[in-house]
């Protein structure tokens, strides 16, 4: 009686009731929490107030809501150059459940199209690593963990799919990957066991913590809703130069006609024009053009030009080209840059038909 009334008063006094609505974690009440409720009744008999009576306590234990979301952090396909290594795709993995979990990670190569890129090759040496220092970029030797350990509810980890790009790829080639995060048991050191089924079909057990899957369908094949895992997709896109070379020739003059309608007769001067065009998405650098002069011709000294500018053909190191020095019997021109998107370089030289 007095103790009960005092208890009720104490409870009311200790409780803090802020004017603002209390903020609830998005993931919700932690699993294992026991929620108790009992009611009290006050009444009178013959107009005399009686002792407050309490009900028994109705209780249940909050179960483990398992929910994980994987999202790619790449806003577009990751541009890669053939032959490059340690190129990575980025993802976030969020624990949307109410319990600390580990997550197993895997990269699944897939076909299809994403970010406008269609899959037609696989990267080499593909691996998955967790961003250990949280800097959003893959640091080899630092980001070495291959699973997510003890991720709190409402927390996010950054994960990379890392691979090497084969050399024999061309501009526009694509390699698509799904990152799959599988919920595993948390609460202990080391990697927890994968949780692949929940207790949805199990008999009721009000005071035992059971698991309930709440995840949605992911992008990977076989990733259904409410299966304890989720996935998201990203892509590598090969971005490189795309060079085409054309070579034309014209008769400049001959001993008989001069430069009026000259013919290709012995003693005539021929001009060769080599054009290199880059229609790719990256600049091409150190483009080396080597052209052996035809049989039965003799090179015309000082005729070598690059983009209309004369080159000293008898010295190799002073400019971009030479004749018969870097390569015997041939014109050699090293163009520093042929820019992407239609840039070109033009090499011209002359010979005399013998």
């Amino acid at each position: 009686m007095f103790p009960r009334r005092a208890l009720f008063t104490i409870l009311a006094a200790l409780a803090v009731w802020p004017a603002g609505a209390p903020a609830a974690m998005a993931a919700g009440t932690a699993s294992g929490s026991q929620i108790d409720n009992y009611a009290t009744v006050d009444y009178q008999v013959n107009s005399i107030a009686q002792t407050t009576v309490s009900s028994d306590t109705a209780s249940f234990v909050v179960d483990n809501k398992i929910d994980v979301t994987v999202t790619t952090l790449d806003g577009s396909a990751v541009s890669v150059v053939p032959g490059s290594s340690d190129r990575y795709l980025s993802f976030s993995v969020t624990n949307d459940g109410n319990t600390v979990q580990d997550f197993s990670l895997s990269a699944a190569a897939t076909t299809g199209t994403v970010f406008g890129v269609t899959d037609n090759f696989d990267a080499d040496s593909v691996a998955v690593f967790v961003d250990a220092n949280g800097n959003g970029s893959y640091d080899p030797g630092t980001d070495t963990a291959t699973f997510i350990d003890e991720l709190e509810p409402d927390s996010t980890a950054t994960v990379f799919i890392v691979g090497d790009i084969p050399l024999a790829r061309v501009n526009g080639d694509g390699a698509l990957y799904d990152l799959v995060a599988q919920t595993a048991a948390g609460g202990a050191a080391g990697q927890g066991a994968d949780i692949t089924s929940d207790d949805g079909a199990e008999a009721d057990s009000a005071m035992v913590v059971q698991t309930v899957f709440c995840d949605t369908t992911g992008t990977a094949t076989g990733d259904a809703a409410r299966d304890g895992k989720h996935s998201s997709r990203s892509a590598y896109e090969v971005s490189t130069a795309d060079l085409t070379v054309t070579k034309t020739s014209v008769v400049v003059s001959d001993p008989v006609n001069g430069s009026t309608n000259p013919k290709a007769v012995p003693g005539a001067t021929m001009r060769y024009t080599i054009t290199v065009t880059n229609d790719g998405d990256e600049d091409a650098s150190t483009v080396t053009i080597v052209d052996a002069i035809p049989a039965n011709t003799a090179y015309v000294d000082d005729s070598l030009e690059l983009d209309g500018g004369a080159l000293t053909d008898d010295t190799a190191a002073d400019d971009e080209g030479d004749y018969n020095l870097s390569n015997a019997g041939a014109v050699t021109v090293v163009v520093p840059t042929v820019v992407q998107g239609g840039g070109s370089a033009e090499v011209v030289f002359e010979v005399i038909i013998q």
Binding site: A19, P22, A24, S31, I35, N37, V41, D56, V62, D63
Partner: protein
């Protein structure tokens, strides 16, 4: 104001009535979930089961059953239920036969009907409360409960 215990006991000795400390009203509280099942005819039926596999976002139903197990009618019956901290009261779900329903948003210090509840905002101005701010539900039965009489009151709440 409560009559001190010793006065009650004296009254009982004089009238030789049922001892007051036995408690005339018995209360039982249960918590349940609603489950939808599809029967053989393909029709969906909703029934209640003990609350289990409750995860954040789920709604449960608290039902308090009362019975007068004494020999005298019980009057001015007020049943009070504090809403657990991790639960959010579902507005409009408190129900009970022949009862006025009151609520508290200040930890039980004051009780009022739903449309007269206010809390103070940061500027000190009164505003209606949001569901998370409800702390207690109280049913005030309009008629006495006769000996052997019984009934139930209930409300719904969502787990945060």
């Amino acid at each position: 104001m409560r009559t001190p215990t010793f006065l009650v006991m004296c009254a009982l000795i004089l009238t030789a009535a049922t001892p007051a400390w036995a408690g005339s009203i018995q209360l039982r509280t249960v918590v349940e979930k609603e489950i939808e099942t599809v029967d053989e005819n393909g029709e969906t039926r909703v029934h209640r089961v003990p609350a289990d596999q409750v995860i954040p976002g789920d709604e449960v139903i608290y039902t308090i059953r009362f019975q007068n197990i004494g020999t005298e009618p019980a009057g001015d019956v007020r049943i009070t239920d504090p809403i657990p901290v991790q639960m959010i009261y579902k507005i409009g779900s408190a129900s009970g036969p022949d009862a006025d329903v009151l609520f508290s948003v200040d930890g039980g210090k004051t009780l009022a009907p739903a449309d007269r509840l206010t809390v103070l905002d940061d500027g000190g101005n009164p505003r209606p409360p949001v569901p998370e701010e409800f702390t207690h539900v109280q049913w005030v039965l309009k008629t006495p409960v006769v000996p052997g009489g019984s009934g139930e009151v209930s409300f719904r709440a969502q787990l945060k």
